[in-house]
């Protein structure tokens, strides 16, 4: 039974991480790059309008960072719950 609770707690933590990271995934792409791009376009950084930059550059950098953050978080979580290999 203890093993089972361990698995449940691990799964809960995992789901929490996934939800947080996917919210950022959504905000960076659908939020900044699509839904709010017109508002963000009034801000300019160098030659880039910010909304356009998120759509064609920024969102992709965010995606890469998100996956590596997830890899780190999960490696820690695996150790904490004894599922490390």
């Amino acid at each position: 039974m203890k093993v089972n609770n361990n698995a449940k707690a691990y799964w809960r933590d995992n789901i929490k991480y996934v939800l947080i990271l996917l919210s950022i995934w959504f905000i960076a792409s659908y939020g900044a790059g699509i839904l709010f791009k017109d508002e963000l376009n009034s801000i300019k950084i160098g030659g880039f309008k910010l909304g356009f930059w998120f759509a064609q550059q920024g969102s992709m950098y965010v995606f890469v960072v998100l996956i590596f953050v997830y890899v780190r978080l999960m490696n820690k979580l695996d150790k904490k719950y004894g599922y490390d290999e």
Binding site: W25, G46, A55, Q56, V64, L66, I67, Y70, M74
Partner: protein, 576 residues
């Protein structure tokens, strides 16, 4: 020394192309011989011991097709902001893959996607539906790749397109049939190196030429170095509006359509069987997560460069042709005119090229593929760089074709023959069946490459919609919703894929009406390319509703779900 350098400078483009394509092809064949497969496990999943870095590189090459390499930058340079649907759509899916699919499917530890669907939903029907979806998605996709190989051959080596298709078929046949997944994994690693080098070299040259910044991602937002002190993008916005096009950084698609297409492409990416299956080849669950990150990093190098190339090429092109005398066009213009990729028709007989948005006045038609293919010539780069682009395009097309062919052969030999038609088949027999189905798949793909049915090009873009509408919900629910049962999943997949097919036939191919229905008739203003999003939502809803009225899945299936959620113990897969 100096003499030798001069000699190199004199070699013409075609000889360079033969040299570079010859070297890379020899490399691929050498790798295939070195890594041939001896067992079904090696043939389907490369023995399951590929390192995260090698798998990341292989996934990146597997994923980036002729479309990413040749067409994408061109599409963006004509679509401006709207091109972001491809950039975000084809990269954002990897976040879904890494967080929601890859680790669990790796833990599950079988050979194919229909394997997972069939076991998780304890049903032959579910497996057959999944095989059907996998074949549909992969065949539409692979036909486009073969055509891409033919086109690259014909443009750079001046052979017939069909000869090009046949050469491509023979090469893929050789290393996919001999090496299986093991062979294609290591050739894909080499192909990634070739294609990224071939894409970056001209991009860096052009970025330096136009902005003085060697990093294209930064040059994209920098000032032009022609002394005007204007930002590249401002200049491009100005040029576009002057000629009557939409402002480059604004685009012209509706917000809801951009949203729907991006989501359909993301979810479709995460549901493509040839991408998913790559994560079966690593050793542990944590390797699956890590290699998804590496794959995306390697893809994003090309994907963040492409929009920069698009903007450079667009500015360059407009400045070279717009309102200039036709007689004074540079050599590349004439050369590509011969291939019909550039068409000029002097409607008002003034000898000048009128390139404007208004169709009745516009005199110039430029094929989008030219933006990458002719870019090095437009920027007057050395001959070897031009030849490099040919080798890169071939690497991109061949690596994707091989990955798809493997999915097709595994679907036939493993999912149909071993799991349904003749379960008693021996390991050796299955391996022979796998090789024969790979040969069959190459021939079918080659046939479609030589005789492309009119609708292939239209359908390739929709392969993503089909993947989004079928696999993605079934796999997600299979992992995250223990209660999901076979009735729900089968009903969901069928409704998803059929609604996608019907919408496509009606609004993309126009099969149900005399003329293709107008945009204004699209449901919610969503284009066929974006309809995968709607079909995916339908799949989820139908699955859950049907599940509520049908039986709970058996205990041992629920145990599988518990089992795949825990990352450790990949090696000792339970008997299911």
């Amino acid at each position: 020394m100096m003499n030798k350098l001069l000699l190199i400078a004199q070699i013409d483009v075609q000889s360079w192309t033969y040299i570079l394509v010859g070297i890379t092809f020899t490399l691929y064949i050498g790798i295939a011989i070195w890594s041939r497969a001896g067992s079904t496990k090696e043939f389907y999943v490369a023995g399951g011991g590929v390192s995260p870095l090698a798998n990341g590189m292989a996934t990146a090459a597997d994923w980036m097709s002729a479309a990413s390499f040749i067409s994408m930058a061109g599409i963006i340079s004509f679509a401006g902001y709207d091109g972001a649907v491809y950039l975000m759509g084809w990269t954002g899916g990897y976040v879904l893959l890494a967080l929601l699919l890859a680790p669990y499917l790796r833990k599950f530890g079988k050979f194919t996607v229909p394997d997972f669907i069939g076991d998780r939903y304890y049903s032959k029907t579910a497996r057959i539906v999944a095989v059907f979806c996998a074949l549909l998605v992969s065949f539409t996709y692979v036909a486009g790749q073969m055509r891409g190989v033919g086109i690259v051959f014909s443009r750079f080596l001046e052979v017939d397109i069909n000869t090009g298709v046949v050469i491509g078929m023979l090469i893929v046949l050789f290393y996919a049939v001999l090496g299986g997944m093991k062979g294609i994994t290591y050739t894909q690693v080499a192909q990634y190196c070739v294609l990224i080098f071939a894409f970056m070299v001209p991009a860096i040259f052009i970025s330096i030429q136009m902005t003085g910044n060697p990093i294209p991602q930064l040059g994209f937002g920098a000032e032009l170095n022609d002394g005007s002190a204007t930002y590249l993008l401002d200049k491009l916005d100005g040029l576009s509006t002057q000629l009557g096009f939409a402002e480059y950084t604004e685009g012209s698609k509706s917000t809801i359509d951009v949203f729907a297409i991006t989501l359909a492409l993301m979810v479709g990416t995460a549901g493509l069987p040839h991408v998913i299956v790559r994560f079966f080849t690593v050793k542990r669950v944590k390797d699956a997560r890590k290699s998804a990150g590496i794959a995306l990093l390697l893809i994003v190098i090309l994907y963040t460069t492409a929009p920069a190339v698009a903007a450079f090429a667009r500015t360059n092109m407009i400045e070279t042709v717009s309102n200039q005398p036709y007689a004074e066009m540079p050599e590349w213009f004439k050369k590509w005119e011969k291939t019909d990729l550039i068409k000029f028709n002097d409607k008002n007989n003034d000898g000048l090229i009128n390139y404007v948005a208004n169709e009745s006045k516009n005199e110039l038609i430029v094929d989008r593929d030219i933006m990458v293919l002719a870019n090095p010539e437009i920027a007057k780069l050395p001959n070897w760089v031009i030849a490099l682009v040919a080798a890169g395009g071939l690497a991109a097309a061949l690596s994707t074709a091989a990955g798809l062919l493997l999915v097709i052969s595994a679907s036939v030999s493993h999912d149909l023959i071993k799991k349904i038609i003749q379960p008693s088949i021996s390991e050796k027999g299955e391996l022979i069946a796998a090789r024969l189905s790979a040969v069959g798949a190459v021939c079918v793909a080659g046939y479609f490459g030589v005789n492309p049915p009119g609708f292939v090009a239209a359908v390739v873009a929709l392969a993503f919609g089909l993947a989004a509408a079928s696999f993605f919900p079934a796999i997600i629910l299979g992992i995250f919703y223990k209660r999901m049962n076979k009735e729900g999943a089968i009903a969901g997949m069928l409704v998803g894929i059929l609604s996608m097919l019907l919408y496509m036939m009606k609004y993309k191919l126009g099969w149900f009406d005399e003329v293709l229905p107008d945009k204004s008739e699209w449901w919610f203003g969503i284009s066929p390319e974006g309809f995968g999003t709607v079909a995916m939502v339908l799949n989820f809803v139908v699955s859950i509703v049907v599940m509520k009225f049908t039986k709970v899945p058996p205990k041992d299936v629920q145990d599988i779900v518990e089992h795949i959620r825990i990352p450790s113990g990949t090696g000792e897969a339970i008997q299911h």
